[in-house]
């Protein structure tokens, strides 16, 4: 369970999020909102990449302020642009990065690398230069790099925005199949139809928090 209590977030004089209180416990939660509505900042609060100016964010009881390292292990984060997330030049080296940081043994790193590449049908790309992958493959590598760290929650910030239709479908299937609790910030309303809960942000505030059949039409109406 992720609990957000009276969180306000400011960048200098600009208030990005105002007095947000929520409990996130469902398996599939979506965050939607216009550009600049605060959804990406909210997503970054959940694994402690951004700390609240006021209030607290707790993940299974751990505060993002005082237990940042443990929180980041529990909450994996996938960025919009995979090129900004892949930090090693070769596929298997990048997958190993997070696991090495967590102190996994060489045998575990090799085994988990084999498993995750097989899962996404990328076994033949193990020694491939990361910059030569397609957009979809890069996003799957970014997701894989997070999953091998065995998080309980996966937060994804607009993971399909930069992808063509084929790659979008491939990444969508991968997200659908995740065993972890998924919190997805997205503009892609089609992707969210089967989610358990949709939270709508506008100007740093929550303006709707409901099931997709109610929250999405509300959002569409508000944007028109």
């Amino acid at each position: 369970m992720i609990e957000i209590d009276n969180v306000t977030l400011r960048y200098g004089d600009r208030t990005v999020l105002s007095d947000i209180s929520l409990s996130l416990g469902e398996a599939r939660i979506a965050i939607i909102g216009a550009n600049g509505s605060g959804k990406s900042s909210f997503a970054r609060l959940l694994n402690g990449l951004v700390l609240p100016s006021e209030g607290t964010v707790r993940v299974d009881g751990m505060s993002t302020k005082s237990d940042g390292k443990d929180v980041r292990r529990k909450v994996g984060f996938v960025f919009q642009n995979p090129d900004n997330q892949i930090v090693f030049p070769v596929v298997e080296e990048d997958l190993a990065f997070g696991m090495k940081n967590l102190g996994f043994s060489k045998e575990d790193i090799a085994r988990k690398t084999t498993e995750i590449l097989a899962r996404y049908d990328m076994s033949d790309l193990r020694e491939h230069p990361a910059h030569l992958l397609s957009g979809g493959q890069k996003q799957l590598l970014a997701i894989s790099g997070v999953l091998v760290m065995e998080p309980a929650y996966v937060v994804l910030d607009e993971p399909t925005t930069l992808l063509d239709l084929r790659n979008k479908r491939r990444v969508t299937r991968a997200i659908d199949a995740l065993e972890q609790t998924v919190i997805l910030a997205s503009h892609d309303l089609e992707l969210l139809q089967e989610f358990d809960r949709v939270i709508v942000f506008d100007e740093g505030r929550i303006v709707a928090d409901d099931t997709p059949d109610k929250a999405i039409p509300f959002y569409v109406e508000r944007m028109s």
């Binding site: 292990r73 930090v87 080296e93 910059h131 030569l132």
Partner: protein, 198 residues
């Protein structure tokens, strides 16, 4: 990575990076100390033989030299002009042997293994306040993001070309710098969120 590593199972691929990097240092020094054209030519042949040992093709060897072809031509022409054809051949062959030798190490060594070795070797500088892990990550990031930055520059250049600004250095440099700085924030967050602790 600029396609530096060529996956394989040869004896050179299986060798640990330390001896290979040490051999490169010794070989490069010997090449510079040597003054004989015949020895330089022999060294070049030996290096090409090592490419065969590493199950690499002569085409792959040529690919290492091709981007520097104009430098070879320039060096050869200048040396020929000033010192004669023998010295010109000696200088160019020595440079080619050196580049091929260095490329052989990178072609047969994963960048992560090379970085691990460098990080280990830099451990001796720890008492001076040097953090080898940080240097290792910096090298890795440089290798990873050279092609990404090249792509960004290409994208910006094309966008400015469409606006008739392809000749303006500032019109290309400024957007590239801004995009790079924005990207750096995300990369830093990504490293942080993947459990990195220097």
């Amino acid at each position: 990575m600029l396609d530096l590593y060529a996956p394989g199972t040869s004896i050179l691929h299986r060798m640990s990076p330390g001896p290979k990097m040490l051999a490169l240092m010794v070989g490069a020094t010997a090449l510079f100390l040597n003054q004989s054209l015949v020895v330089t030519l022999a060294a070049l042949i030996v290096v090409l033989g090592l490419y065969r040992l590493a199950q690499l093709t002569m085409k792959q060897a040529w690919q290492q030299l091709r981007p520097l072809l104009w430098i070879f031509v320039l060096f050869f022409a200048l040396q020929w002009w000033f010192s004669g054809v023998t010295l010109a051949a000696y200088v160019v062959l020595r440079l080619a042997a050196l580049i091929l030798l260095a490329s052989l190490v990178t072609l047969t060594t994963r960048s992560s293994d090379m970085i691990d070795t460098m990080t280990w070797a830099l451990g001796v500088l720890r008492p001076l306040g040097v953090n080898p892990a940080k240097i290792g990550l910096a090298i890795s990031l440089a290798l990873r993001f050279i092609p990404v930055l090249a792509q960004i520059t290409q994208d910006v250049r094309e966008a400015q070309k469409a606006r008739g600004l392809e000749r303006s250095v500032i019109a290309v440099a400024m957007p590239v710098a801004i995009r790079t700085l924005k990207m750096a924030d995300d990369i830093s967050d990504a490293i942080d969120s993947r459990g990195y602790r220097p």
